[in-house]
């Protein structure tokens, strides 16, 4: 014995799956956007100075 195809249990299950899918998708989009912002905010690495200047500084 089982539930008929139109039973409310399937509607609830579909609604729950769609809702969970939407929530997960929103989380993925949010984490992606956060990553872009966080990585984009990192200070740029200091470019290598000319050898003469660094020698002068250290010497």
């Amino acid at each position: 014995m089982g539930f008929s195809a139109g039973h409310e249990i399937f509607k609830r299950r579909l609604g729950r799956n769609l809702g969970l899918g939407g929530a997960l998708l929103a989380l993925v989009v949010l984490i992606f956007a956060l990553t872009i912002v966080k990585v984009g905010d990192q200070p740029k690495p200091v470019s290598a100075k000319p050898a003469a200047a660094s020698q002068g500084a250290s010497g």
Partner: protein, 311 residues
Amino acid sequence: MTDIRAFDQTGEAGFRDYVALLKPRVMSLVVFTALVGLLVAPVPVHPVIAVASILFIALGGGASGALNMWWDSDIDQIMRRTCARPIPAGRVEPREALALGLVLSLISVAMLGLAANWVAAGLLAFTIFFYVVIYSMWLKRTTPQNIVIGGAAGAFPPMIGWACATGGISLESVAMFMLIFMWTPPHFWSLALFMKDDYSNAGVPMLTVTHGRKAARTHILVYTILLTPVAVGTAFTAIGGGVYLAASLILSAGFLRGAWRIWKRDEAAAEADKYAVEKKTFRFSLIYLAGLFAALLAEGVLHHLGLGGWW
């Protein structure tokens, strides 16, 4: 009763049942006050980080709501106001609510730490702990001052919002905390006067039951008087200004008038007009808090434009 519940319980909750576990109406207050806390802070926040932070604060608030419903499911089925909640109605299993609450707590705290900073995440974790363990599990069923202490949990969101921007705690964020903390008791006791829930049957020592309704009326007036200097005093902090001062004076006068009228009348007078004054004061208390935080937001906007504030 058991038969009806067994028939209704299919073990298949809909998505909206899980949303209901997160107490969306409480969440709206959390979102608004946390947003104001974040926006009035002197440190600008990237819009994406701001949106993510508010979302994770709201999620943390929702998680504590689910854990509260898990713990209180025994008394929720006794009281009329709460008997239709997903667990007492048999649509969600208690252990499902527990699992949802724990998982969302971990996700919200970890993600807030990564998105904003770990001070804000720590405050969110403490808020969840305070609401679930200190309030729901311990004080709610042991002291008639439960609302006073429980109000602290609802008062943390603007502090967390502020911490998201600044990475710390300051006089201004404590002032916003105190606003909600002092506002909660008169707000909730006004509701308790006319809701007449079955708190005594549920074993919850509500002030209206333990000390009587006259004592509750006195408490409403005293707390509203104590709230007033907090509300007006916030005007003289760095997040205040002329606009907020005017709003706080007008709103405080209205709330004090309502509390005074509640205190002056007795149960017979209240019964005669079906608690009209209590209902009106309760509704006004919502406008009061929303108005104060909207005024703080307005001051924040004026500050950004180089206007507003005292200095």
